[in-house]
């Protein structure tokens, strides 16, 4: 019974994260939303791991956290570049390449 609550929480977090990515115009907030999704996944993993008291789940979560950190670093670097070149981090203006 306990598991469902966790899964539901993770699913909710996941949807909020996705919503954030799709709607927010500022690159920073999109990055944050992605972090949100990744954390939702962590909850999932840990919940499953706990259910079957198998260490794999938490190991997987650890890896996810490490990778998420790396990604955010790179993400921020790229957004910084964007700011330096365009003076704004509004994703809507980024449409030079299309068609």
């Amino acid at each position: 019974m306990l598991l469902n609550q966790f899964l539901l929480l993770a699913a909710a977090l996941f949807c909020i994260g996705v919503y954030g990515v799709l709607v927010r115009r500022s690159a920073m907030l999109v990055l944050m939303s992605i972090e949100l999704i990744l954390n939702a996944v962590n909850i999932n993993l840990v919940a499953f791991g706990a259910l079957t008291d198998d260490v794999g789940g938490s190991v997987f979560a650890l890896f996810t956290i490490a990778v998420a950190a790396a990604e955010v670093g790179i993400g921020l670097a790229i957004v910084l570049l964007m700011y330096r070149n365009r003076r704004s981090i509004d994703l809507a203006q980024v449409d030079l390449l299309k068609g």
Binding site: L7, I34, I37, V41, I74, I78, V79, N85, L91, L97
Partner: protein, 502 residues
């Protein structure tokens, strides 16, 4: 306190490592480290030899791969999470060699640019390391780590030209879509882990493969995983990033993305399909059928209208991904043929596409533009290049005697061997699509031969040594695979099922 800690860890027993199996990865790691070290030590002066070191390093990594191949028997470490079998070795060789060609491509391209050059090779090598790892990954965590290891450097490579808006935009788009897709993939993996209780693909297969209707969690898991890799492979509807990123990114990086990272995507997808949920064919076959048909048709249709050669090659890549997905759509009925068909296609596709990019870069050196019209009259001032480009284009279109025909033949063979109506329909779709594709390939060929050069200047194109050698390598491979397909046939006669059985 420290002792207590140490005491707890005695119970931790170090897993036995078969160093020979891990040799390729280690050598790559060493080369990457060396390049970074050189960059730090020599700073500016290092510009000249970093690319040479990277190239030589890649060739050195081929040595352990070849020894492992000669050794012949499959090896498995970490209780099956890391497997080195023929299939893995072929893919590792493919990644390393395509990386080698990309390094050849970028040798003077990057040098001519005014950006800091050395990190470029470091990133490329680390990305290749990720791909090589992916080839042997048979465990969710390893797959995920390998995927991220090859993607993150790729995001940076995509936005390599810091001050150029287009490269920056390419980087943003690739990054955001990439991270979003891997998030979805991760979510799917977590569900799979949940239902199987272990991250090992073989365990997942036994859990997921239970007979009877699969639970919603399993279905969702599989779909999200396939979506994740669908992005990587640029299958429609997850392909939208590809054209913009290819156009924005520097051309060698585009070549790298379109060949190596797409191949890595396929490797991951195949690992999961053939090892992870091989019994669950009833779910992923229709899924992949839809993706394959969509990718082929949409990719080709959009490519008809392109005016920029790189965007056209992007969409052509999307269509080729569709062709490669086709055998996977009948994988459960004819697993071995499907696998070897896709692997063959990957190998030949790598040669053809890299060759095409070589010529694109060579022409860009003179015309300074990637527009298709800039190719007009190429035959009049650079007949060699024109013939080479025609060779690659008609290979991509699947016209014998160039390599592509055998790749497409193997795909059609797999699809027909399945003897299912969906297989047959997919075969017809492949046939129709190869005709649509032929239109835009032939149109460029036409332009090169029939039209006259833009504003008539006929100064011949001077090829630097590295570009020339890359051209000869890829051209030779494409022609040889076309005329003597048996070579690539022996190479790609692989099977993943033995992994589970063995």
């Amino acid at each position: 306190m420290l002792a207590q800690l140490a005491q707890q860890t005695e119970s931790f027993v170090r897993p036995a490592i078969d160093w020979h199996a891990v040799a390729p990865e280690l050598t790559l790691l060493a080369v990457g480290a060396l390049v970074t070290l050189l960059d730090i030590v020599f700073l500016e002066r290092g510009r000249r030899f970093t690319s040479a070191v990277a190239a030589v390093g890649l060739l050195i990594t081929m040595v352990p791969i070849v020894t492992l191949a000669l050794d012949g028997n499959d090896r498995s470490l970490f209780s099956g999470a890391f497997v080195v079998d023929n299939y893995a070795l072929v893919m590792k060789a493919l990644f390393v060699l395509s990386a080698y060609v990309v390094v050849l491509l970028s040798a003077n391209y990057v040098a001519e640019g005014d950006y800091w050059e050395n990190e470029y090779y470091g990133l490329v090598l680390s990305s290749v390391l990720g791909m090589v790892l992916m080839a042997s990954a048979r465990d969710l965590i390893t797959v995920f780590v390998a995927l991220e290891l090859l993607s993150i450097p790729a995001y940076m490579l995509a936005s390599w030209r810091k001050r150029d808006l287009k490269s920056n935009e390419a980087g943003i788009k690739y990054y955001l879509m990439g991270v979003f897709a891997s998030a979805i993939l991760l979510y799917g993996m977590s569900l799979l882990y949940g239902s199987a209780g272990s991250t090992l693909l073989t365990d997942i297969n036994s859990a997921v493969g239970a007979s009877g209707a699969p639970s919603a969690v399993v279905v969702l898991g599989i779909v999200f995983v396939v979506v994740g890799f669908g992005f990587k492979v640029s299958a429609v509807p997850f392909h939208t990033w590809a054209p913009d990123t290819y156009e924005g990114a520097p051309t060698p990086v585009t070549a790298f993305l379109s060949v190596a990272s797409k191949a890595a995507g396929f490797v991951a997808l195949m690992n999961l399909l053939f090892v992870g949920f091989v019994e669950r064919g009833d779910i992923y076959e229709p899924l992949l059928w839809v993706l394959a048909a969509l990718s082929m048709t949409v990719g080709n249709l959009i490519a008809l209208r392109q005016t920029n050669i790189v965007r056209m090659l992007a969409y052509s890549g999307v269509a080729q991904a569709g062709y490669m997905l086709a055998p996977l759509a009948v994988a459960s009925s004819v697993p071995d043929t499907a696998l070897s068909a896709t692997v063959t296609y990957l190998v030949i596709y790598a040669a053809m596409n890299l060759g095409a990019f070589v010529v694109v870069m060579a022409v860009a050196r003179k015309t300074r533009s990637a527009e298709i019209s800039s190719f007009n009259g190429l035959f009049s001032y650079a007949p060699g290049l024109a013939v080479a480009m025609s060779l690659f284009l008609f290979a991509l279109a699947g016209i014998p005697p160039f390599g592509g025909w055998f790749a497409k033949f193997r795909v059609m063979e797999a699809v027909i061997e399945a003897e299912t109506t969906s297989g047959l329909v997919l075969g017809v779709v492949v046939a129709v699509n190869s005709v649509i594709a032929l239109y835009y390939y032939a149109r460029i060929g036409l332009g090169m031969w029939a039209n006259d050069a833009p504003d008539g200047d006929l100064t011949p194109v001077r090829l630097p040594f590295s570009l020339a050698s890359a051209l000869i390598l890829t051209g030779g491979v494409t022609l040889v695979f076309g005329v003597l397909p048996q070579l690539v046939g022996d190479l790609t006669q692989v099977s993943l099922l033995s992994g589970i059985g063995g």
